[in-house]
């Protein structure tokens, strides 16, 4: 059944939302989501790489010989990852510092390679852009959601974006008396939180 352009876009937002449905690309999901801001930043960086590598792969799909396709995909993806690294260093340096090693790690993110291989190498340019955008935004939303839960309980804050001069978001959501449940922003909390969110998704999905 052929899908429309809109469907290709929206499937990434629910049906195939990563990482919940695909259970891939877990490392950044777990590693950086201590705040919404980090989640969004990581998500957008991944989306950027995803969309541009999809564009290039889809445009070149008829030229790339199948034997070396994985190597080509990797070169393409790695190129955009470095582009992202450089741009982030130049324009959002603090975020770059917070996300640390996870930015270069986009290169091994199974989702990105997975989309190149499974989708962009077989579909037209426009569809591949829709796919990349959809999956990327879905990924961003998931990361933001996880970041929101973890930050809310673990730090009593909701930070959407920090600029050098101010913070967009809410601080001390539960009031100043609340002692944050810092387990949530620690390593084990990431796993537990993601696991429980996945359980919720399964519950909602099965209805």
């Amino acid at each position: 059944m052929a899908k429309t352009l809109t469907q290709e876009f929206t499937k990434g937002l629910w049906e195939e939302i990563a990482p919940f449905r695909l259970v891939l690309g877990l490392c950044p999901v777990l590693g950086v989501t201590t705040t919404i801001e980090n989640g969004i930043g990581m998500g957008l960086a991944t989306t950027f790489v995803l969309v541009f590598s999809n564009i290039l792969v889809a445009s070149l799909r008829n030229i790339i010989p199948s034997k070396v396709r994985i190597a080509c995909f990797i070169i393409i993806i790695a190129t955009f990852v470095v582009v992202t690294e450089l741009l982030m260093q130049a324009f959002t340096y603090t975020l770059f510092l917070k996300l640390g090693v996870f930015i270069p790690l986009i290169v091994v993110n199974c989702i990105v390679l997975g989309r190149a291989e499974a989708f962009a190498s077989k579909n037209s340019l426009t569809f591949s852009i829709a796919d990349g955008l959809g999956i990327g935004i879905g990924f961003t939303l998931s990361l933001a959601a996880l970041g929101a839960v973890r930050e809310l309980f673990g730090a009593n804050n909701l930070t959407i974006w920090t600029t050098p001069t101010s913070i967009i978001g809410i601080q001390e959501v539960f009031g100043t008396n609340f002692e944050p449940f810092t387990f949530m922003v620690q390593a084990p909390g990431a796993f537990v939180c993601l696991g429980l969110m996945l359980c919720l998704m399964n519950l909602v999905g099965s209805k």
Partner: protein, 190 residues
Amino acid sequence: MGYMEIIIGGIFVNNILLAQFLGNCPFLGTSKKMETAVGMAMAVVFVLVLAGVITWVLYTFFLVPYKLVYMRTIAFILVIASLVQFVEMFLKKSIPALYAGLGIFLPLITTNCAVFGACILNVDKDLNFMKTLVQSVAYAVGFGLALILFAGVRERIILARVPKPLQDTSIGLVTAGILSLTFYAFKGMI
């Protein structure tokens, strides 16, 4: 930093999986059965150590002198991808028995954050050659250890009466969290 600290640190305190969040996809993907977990663990040890050493050499003797550090992401991933290819071909031809055991896990390793991440961490830490080698081995052993322990626990969970929506990955993640919590035991021990 002494060797002992690198070893204890790499295996337990800064366990690449549980403390640094690297390599989670194979961690969850290959831990349902002890057999696969052991296979994956061995494959990772093999590739991670080789890749760690080779990327260090590449970084120290090529990228740094030629001021190409910003290209390390590309350089490393290409090294790892070709290394995996090469190891696969080599094993297939020369040690078929080992290939039969590790073969299916090798392609997965190309997209394993643990391998790539360990290479990056190694060069970031500015270690010398021997220490890089020891550090890679420690990371790899830490990965294998966590994976195998996790598989032991997961084998039991599969037999428990876990509620439906929690089954499989969901409960796996929660358990991985507790696993990571138990590794807090080693905090401060280096």
